[in-house]
Each structure stands twice: as C-alpha cells, then as structure tokens.
Symmetry: C2
Subunit: 346 residues, 2 copies
C-alpha cells in the first residue's frame, strides 16, 4: 500500500477562519469521496475546529486535529515573527513536515510571516540560492506557472535560471502530460532587449533547454503571457508581483464595467435571461478563486499560501492544489531538475 | 491673434500609411470643424498624400504638405538610424519643430528610430537626466498618465522624481481642471516595501508634494492602478512596459472570452439584441484606440508615437492628443515643474 498524501492545514489563518477553512475542506471531501489516498491534519484551536466540523457534518477518519493554543496575528511583521510565532497553528503546521507528519503545508495567514518561518523551519535546498513564490495564471490553452511573485524583489541571472527549473518542476507535477515551455518576461522578444541580467539568464536557459526538463522559448512580453506559447513564465519578484496584480486589477476593472453595463436598464436585464448560463460559464472560467494558492518553492518541503481574503470555494482550490502537487511528486521533480542544473555546464 | 497650434505629422509611418493617416486626419477635421486654431503639416510622399486627400475630399487651407522622398523602414534599427534616416518623412517631421515650423510631432513609424532621432534633433532639456515615454491608461474616475513605458529600462531615484514632474505637467496640460496625484508603483503600499531606489524616490517625492505641482500619494500596487486614487503613476521603463502590456493582454483575453461566450448559441445571440447598445457603449469605453499615443517627454519639444498597427480611428485619437497637449501648454507646465524641482531642497 502506498503511503497516503498528508496535507497539513493551518485552520486559523486568513479572514473568517476556521469557518471558511472547514467549509472549503468539506467541498474537497465531497469532490474526493472516491479517493482514500489522503489524510488531512488540521492545526489550530481544537474546540473551534470541532464546532465547524460539526456544522458541516464532517466526521471523517481521514481528518485529524492537532491542537495549537495560539495563532499568528495579521499585524505580526516578519521581523518579530520568529520570536512570536512559535507554537502557533501556522508554525506547528509547517513544523509537522519536518517531523515527517505531513507532505505539504497550507495556510491563509500572514504572508510575510509564513515565508519567514517556512524558510527557517524547512530550510532552503542546499543547491539553491533563493526560494521563489509561484502562482497559477490562466492562458488560452490552459494554465501558466508564473514565478517569482514577490519573494525576492531583486534577482540575478542565476536566481532566474533556478526559478526556471523550479517552475518547470511544479508544472510537471501539476500537468504530467504536458511539456514545460519556459519564457523569460521582458520588454521585447528580440535577443538584444532587456537588462544584462536577463541577457545572461537567456544564454544559460538556452543552453539548458532540453526535452526532459524544459524547452526554453526565449523572451515573452507582458501582452503574450496569456497566449499559451509558454507555460512557465520566469521573472524577478518585483516585476512578477506587479504583473500579477496589474492583471488582477485590469480583470476587475473590466468585469465591474461589464456588470454595470448588463444591469443598466430594462433591456440589458432582459438580455441576461438569455445569456445567463453562458455568462455563468464565462464568469466561472475567469473566477480568481480557481487560481487561489501561491506555492513557495525551493525549501525542503512545499508550502502553499492561500489568499487571506478568499472564501470557502477559494480555499477548496488551494487544498486541491496541495493534493495535486504531492500526487505529482513535486519534490522528486525539483530534485531531478536541480541535478540537471548541476550537471550541465552553464 | 494667437499663434495657431501647428501639428507636424509623419504621413508615411506605420501600417497602411498614408491611407490611415489621412483618414484619421479627416476624422479630426470633422470633429474640429468649428475650430480654426490649428494647422497640420503632412510630411511624406506628396503624390501619395494628395491621392489620399482627394479620396477623403480634404481640401483644407489648414493642411500643408511637405514633400519627403524617403521614409524610415520598419526594419531599421536605432543603431543605424542616424545614418539612414536623414531627410526621411519622420526626420523632417521632427526637424520642423527645431525650425519653429511646428509645436509637436506625431508618427506611427518605427519606435526605436523615433526615440533616437527625436532625442538627437530636439535634445534633452538641460535640467533633466533622462527622457521618458508616457501613456494614457483609464481609471475608474477618468484617466491616468503612466510613465516610463520603456524608454529607460534602468532608472535611479532621481529619474523617478523627474518622471513625476514630467508626468504631472502632462496631466495638467491634458486635464487643466484636475490635480495631479502622483504614486510610485511598488509591490506593497507600506513605506518599508520595495527597492532602495524606490525608498529614496519616496522620500524626495514626499518632500516635493505640494498643491501647485503635484500631490504625492505614496506607493501604489498593480491592482490599484485603475482605482482612481492616483492619476500619475511613476515607475521605471522596464516595469512600466511590462505592466502596460500585461494589462493589454489581460483585457484582450477577457474580451475575447466574452465575445466567444455571447455568440456561442442561439440564446446568447438573442440576448445580444437586448444588450446591443449597452455592450457597444461598454466596448467603446474600453476601446484601446481611445488611448492611442505615447508621449515622449523631456525633450525641447513634444513628440507623440502612435501605435504602428492602429487604424484611422486610433490615429485620429493621437492627433487629438497632440492638439490637446499643445493647447494645454505642456512645455510651459514642464518648465514650471522643473523650476520647482530645482528650487526645492531634495
């Protein structure tokens, strides 16, 4: 019998927790009623968690509660986190990986603190110089992995090459039937464009490009990210964070405008009767909750950060993401890719 | 009698020229039939231009053709431009400002070449260290000026402060009844976030903030660009270029999806009968042609770059932009703002 996938969840992180955490979990359990290859460890206030489990009628032998009497506050800063966060639900959730009790950790709590204590507890893989925060981003043909989204605001060419290997490994763990196609985000697609750091990374990635690890597709411009020509988009954390948030802001601006337009008078309201189901599908395709979950890569164990403000459905998607990542053997994929990096002459 | 606003247009730049240039001009003339405070100088192949003027029945005493026998090719690189572009329609168009024959130049031709020869001919204002490319970007309440969009891929704090002054001057020339509200694009809104360069620029802008030049609103994240809390968004050319193109790509992805959704079956097609006029307004509000025209700021004369691929309507908007910029006395506004910069202790 294969070892079960164990997901450690910080039940106390984010807005409206543990309620939305447990409601999200109930959605996950419903969708995976046929599967018994996983276990869920819930870290947090035992009493509060039990109340919510009862509310959603969850009495499942796949669930375990591990009590923590404190939690990380939203106001905590990364600077004081190490001192103040010990034995919080977030800390215990991550620490359980170190003790072999879980394969992955998930929290919707304070991002800065999560990054700091994850790195402290799980430590960086020795072959790497920086960890990265990766996210999912839809494209015309399916999904992109984009990294770094803000863990490192300044990066050199070596970091970018490592991000390409990490991102490709994540892509392979999530989409095992697809090839990772790596592109470097830049202000033009010609080889002469961009900073010296990008030019150096371009050369190295070109040399590393192969069928087993990733195919390097060169530079990509911001307006092509969603075209599907590449599916692993590599950039520094400053640019990645701004690109992602700008895309979010643009999407919101357009859909808010659309909503206003389609409810502005009696005629448009009638039109909604006819387009209701189609627009529902459209909305569903663009639903940001489907992409909820940023993956902290490069540590000796994967950590997933859910949006603090998401709801139960969003949190369900981040549990699902954790399940797929472990099922796709992310850590094995990363080790393979880092061996490739080490063996190759750069 | 006040001196007329003279706009020099490179009639040969961009796809499908001079046809779209002249069609765009005919739209401009129709909209400004009541105004006689402007003159248009068309630079390019006299015969070709005359054919198009006849096609659109333009025989206007406000139009003058200045013949150029050559034009800048799309394949020309900035490196060889200085040697090869002399006496092209683009060169003559910009050069006419130097000779006092025009107040502003407009071209839809090769961007790299336009930036290089504009800078060479018009020279940078002596108080500045770098010029910047600024664009218009819609927000919830109206319009943003965003800069730099790619003229400088690496910038220091001094450059960013200059961009704030240039962008505010542009904003005041376009929207004289509004106050410029400057924000620095960053990965977080707290003062401790971002690179050292941003932190230094933040302090300087905070000191410069005043009612006469601009109000500094601090850092802004990518998802807030369109919220209307700021209207002059300052960033380096690398980040600005990627943010703008990512927004363009996201808008296209969503509107393509929406189009597909609303034509996917007979019901949705019926819905369009009821929502037709509302959706037309929605489309019009987001039409990228309305924001066509990047403004090259910091030279001793303004130069506007139209998208090469735009159509007549897009080109009309860039002519209109030129007209408004000169009417709003951009150069006077810039000089005022640069005096402020010089007089203030940074």
């Amino acid at each position: 019998m294969e070892k079960k996938i164990t997901i450690a969840i910080d039940a106390m992180g984010g807005d409206n927790s543990p309620n939305k955490i447990i409601e999200g979990l109930s959605l996950f359990l419903k969708k995976n009623i046929q599967n018994d290859d996983f276990l869920i460890n819930l870290h947090g206030d035992k009493k509060k968690i039990e109340i919510e489990l009862n509310k959603f009628s969850i009495s499942n032998k796949l669930i375990k509660i591990i009590h923590s009497s404190t939690e990380v506050s939203d106001d905590e800063t990364p600077l004081t986190a190490l001192k103040n966060s010990k034995n919080t639900s977030m800390w215990n959730c991550i620490n359980s990986q170190l003790e072999g009790d879980a394969d992955i950790s998930l929290s919707a709590g304070n991002t800065g603190v999560l990054l700091v204590i994850s790195r402290m507890i799980l430590k960086m893989m020795s072959q790497l110089s920086k960890p990265a925060l990766a996210g999912l981003w839809p494209n015309k043909n399916g999904m992109n992995v984009v990294l770094d989204l803000g863990a490192n605001i300044e990066c050199n060419d070596e970091n970018l090459v490592e991000f390409a290997e990490l991102g490709s490994a994540l892509y392979k763990s999530l989409y095992p039937d697809d090839k990772p196609l790596v592109s470097l985000l830049n202000v033009g697609s010609e080889e002469i464009k961009g900073t010296e750091i990008l030019k150096k990374a371009y050369k190295k990635l070109n040399n590393l490009s192969n069928e087993n690890n990733f195919i390097f597709k060169g530079y990509i411009e911001g307006n092509k990210i969603m075209d599907g020509g590449a599916n692993v988009i590599v950039t520094d954390g400053f640019t990645g964070n701004i690109a992602l948030k700008t895309a979010e802001g643009t999407a919101k601006f357009i859909t808010d405008n659309l909503k206003k337009t389609l409810t502005e008078n009696i005629l448009t309201k009638i039109s909604l009767i006819f387009s209701y189901f189609a627009l529902k599908k459209f909305k569903n395709r663009l639903d940001p909750r489907k992409y909820n979950g940023a993956i902290f890569l490069g540590l000796n164990g994967p950590v997933v950060k859910s949006h603090g403000g998401t709801d139960a459905k969003g949190f369900y998607h981040s549990i699902d993401l954790c399940y797929k990542i472990v099922k796709g053997k992310l850590l094995v994929q990363i080790k393979n890719n880092l061996n490739h990096l080490k063996n190759d002459k750069l």
